[in-house]
């Protein structure tokens, strides 16, 4: 799936009520099967860019296109199935639901796209097996290590085989070993399944795995930062 962001802009209100622009006129294009890293200092707008592309919040300006569909202009209701079927999210803080077991967290991705639990269960177990967390299926997030939680979160993100995976600092809270597993999985998604991956990262080694790296500074893409291919 080809992903295009055109003239994206987002402004938040600061504590004093004044507008704080965090993203301004950003154009990005990610081809199908491409692995793109987004780098930049804290507060440069990396996570906001990911949220806008992932339809997690609406842009103030600009548009997001998935192939030939301008998904940012879809109704709130119509965006739900796009999020469920076309996008997989991996967050830095894992964002697992504390009241559900690891397996139920993974299966949550199937629930909202109309997949029956029984149909999704084998795939969920197989994924967890491959990521080395199958033995933790019945545990709650608080009973898992950070590395295990992130692997569970990754399983949830890819359970529905989404054509786009957005990963926001997925290795930020992990040690080298666990970080390598997640990065290797993301790389594999592009090569083996043709998924597009956008990875926000501070790590140079992570960015080095990407096909190209976008650099954001104060909400704008740096010149020659590789926004479009």
């Amino acid at each position: 799936m080809r992903v295009r962001a055109v003239g994206l802009g987002k402004t938040f209100r600061g504590p004093d009520g004044r507008p704080v622009p965090v993203l301004e006129r950003v154009d990005v294009e990610v081809a199908s099967g491409e692995f793109v890293a987004v780098a930049g200092a804290s507060g440069s707008g990396k996570s906001t860019l990911l949220n806008l592309v992932g339809l997690l919040e609406p842009p103030d300006r600009g548009e997001v296109w998935f192939d030939d569909v301008c998904v940012s202009r879809l109704s709130r209701r119509a965006q739900c199935p796009v999020r469920g079927r076309s996008i997989g999210y991996v967050f830095q803080s894992f964002l697992l639901i504390t009241g559900l077991t690891a397996l139920d967290n993974v299966l949550l991705a199937a629930r909202y796209v109309g997949r029956a639990r029984s149909e999704a269960l084998p795939a969920a177990r197989a994924l967890m097996e491959r990521l080395g967390v199958a033995h933790r299926a019945g545990h709650y997030p608080a009973q898992l290590s950070g590395g295990e939680q992130q692997r569970v979160a990754y399983c949830r993100a890819v359970l529905n085989d989404p054509p786009l995976v957005l990963a926001d600092e997925p290795t930020g809270n992990l040690d080298e070993g666990h970080a390598a597993v997640i990065l290797s999985e993301l790389r594999g998604l592009c090569r083996e399944r043709g998924a597009s991956v956008i990875l926000v990262t501070h790590r140079a080694d992570a960015a080095a795995l990407a096909d190209r790296t976008l650099r954001l500074r104060a909400g704008r893409l740096e010149p020659g930062g590789g926004g479009t291919t």
Partner: protein, 399 residues
């Protein structure tokens, strides 16, 4: 079932359920107290509407709630001849403790002397409901049938004896079921025994007999009479007819007495209304606040679910299902908690012959329906607030 509930409810709902339980327990407890007062007032109302009470003119010593004087036998016979009268039962009603006020007889313990051979005149109480033992029979002497509170406050049961004044002991032959009104505090004895007690207690009355007033006999010793009317006869009209045709008697008109009773219990009715409103407000606020807070507490989870593709309808359905499960569980716990508290408190105050709570089925059903509906509304309100946020905003707020 437990497994199903565990899947339905995330683990962190335990304190929410307990919080709702406490709110519902408060609602049920206050409601049960209100029900108890209602039962008392309604019971008294039904009782006075079921018979015509007649007493001699003037204020006699030791009289009961008819507040009249001596009602002599000839007057009772005259009353019996009034058209429309079905039966007249001579009665002696005395306060158990003569030093206490005679004007609080609705809550006062009373000795009621009746003729067991005469039919019960009260249309609302054709026969006294006996829980243990038996009611009075013809020829009984020295025996008593006790009201439920009267017996329980003294830990009395059938076969034991009780002194009802002037050193006279009575064998308990029966204990009545709870009526939640006046008879609960009665000790019912044969009429002749009640006359004896009255004579022993009242020196003035003894002097009247000793003074040789030849026209007086023991059969004249009645504080009043309860009059039953024939089928198809209007009780109020008959009471007015007795008043008009039998001179020298004090007749209470059932409808008017009911109105007076209602007026005198107006304060309790207002109190009852206040308790009901208070219960609804406290219980309702506690419950809706708990459910709303529980939903908002999980705002991050809902943000995550929105990110995974959940629609507004899916989220609403999910949250409502959880809220219903939580509200019903909390409601059931609250009802059980209130029942336990009510049972313990009533067990304590029963020693003084009181009952504070009346847990009627309609109250318990109302509490469960109320908590369920309010829980669902509170959850729906919280959900509608949450689904207006973008997934990212919901996750940020819940972080």
């Amino acid at each position: 079932m437990v497994g199903g509930l565990r899947r339905l409810l995330p683990r962190n709902y335990l304190f929410t359920i307990l919080g709702i339980g406490v709110g519902v327990a408060g609602l049920v407890a206050l409601g049960a107290m209100a029900e108890r007062i209602t039962a008392f007032i309604d019971g008294g109302d039904r009782f006075v509407l079921g018979q015509i009470s007649v007493a001699g003119e003037g204020m006699g010593m030791g009289t009961g709630f008819t507040a009249g004087g001596l009602l002599r036998e000839e007057k009772i016979e005259q009353i019996a001849r009034v058209p429309g009268v079905a039966a007249v039962q001579a009665q002696v009603m005395l306060p158990l403790n003569p030093t206490t006020s005679q004007f609080l007889t609705l809550t006062q313990e009373l000795i009621l002397g009746i003729d067991p051979t005469a039919p019960m005149p009260n249309r609302q109480l054709r026969e006294m409901p006996v829980e243990r033992g038996r009611f009075l029979r013809a020829g009984d002497r020295g025996v008593a049938v006790l009201g439920a509170d009267f017996a329980s406050s003294r830990h009395l049961t059938v076969g034991q004896t009780i002194e009802l004044g002037a050193g006279r002991r009575f064998e308990v032959v029966g204990v009545l079921d709870k009526t939640l009104t006046a008879p609960d505090r009665f000790a019912i004895v044969p009429l002749e025994d009640a006359r004896d007690l009255w004579l022993r207690r009242d020196p003035l009355l003894v002097q009247v007999f000793a003074g040789g007033r030849g026209s007086m006999s023991r059969r004249d010793l009645n504080t009043g009479a309860a009059v039953a009317w024939a089928d198809g006869v209007d009780g109020d009209e008959l009471a007015r007819r007795i008043q008009a045709t039998v001179p020298g008697v004090n007749v209470t008109i059932p409808g008017e007495l009911s109105r007076v009773l209602r007026q005198s219990t107006a304060f309790f009715s207002a109190l009852l209304f206040g308790i009901g409103v208070l219960g609804l407000v406290i219980g309702g606020a506690s419950l809706s606040n708990t459910v709303t807070a529980a939903v908002f507490e999980r705002i991050r989870d809902f943000g995550i679910k929105r990110a995974l593709g959940a629609t507004d309808v899916q989220l609403l359905r999910e949250i409502l299902t959880e809220a219903l499960a939580v509200s019903i569980s909390g409601g059931v716990i609250g009802v059980v908690l209130a029942l336990v508290i009510g049972f313990l408190v009533d067990a304590r105050v029963l020693r003084e012959g009181q009952q504070l709570f009346l847990f009627s089925p309609r109250l318990l059903l109302f509490a469960l329906v109320f908590s369920t509906i309010l829980g669902a509304l509170a959850a729906a309100y919280a959900t509608l607030r949450i689904v207006r946020l973008s997934p990212a905003e919901a996750i940020r707020r819940g972080a």
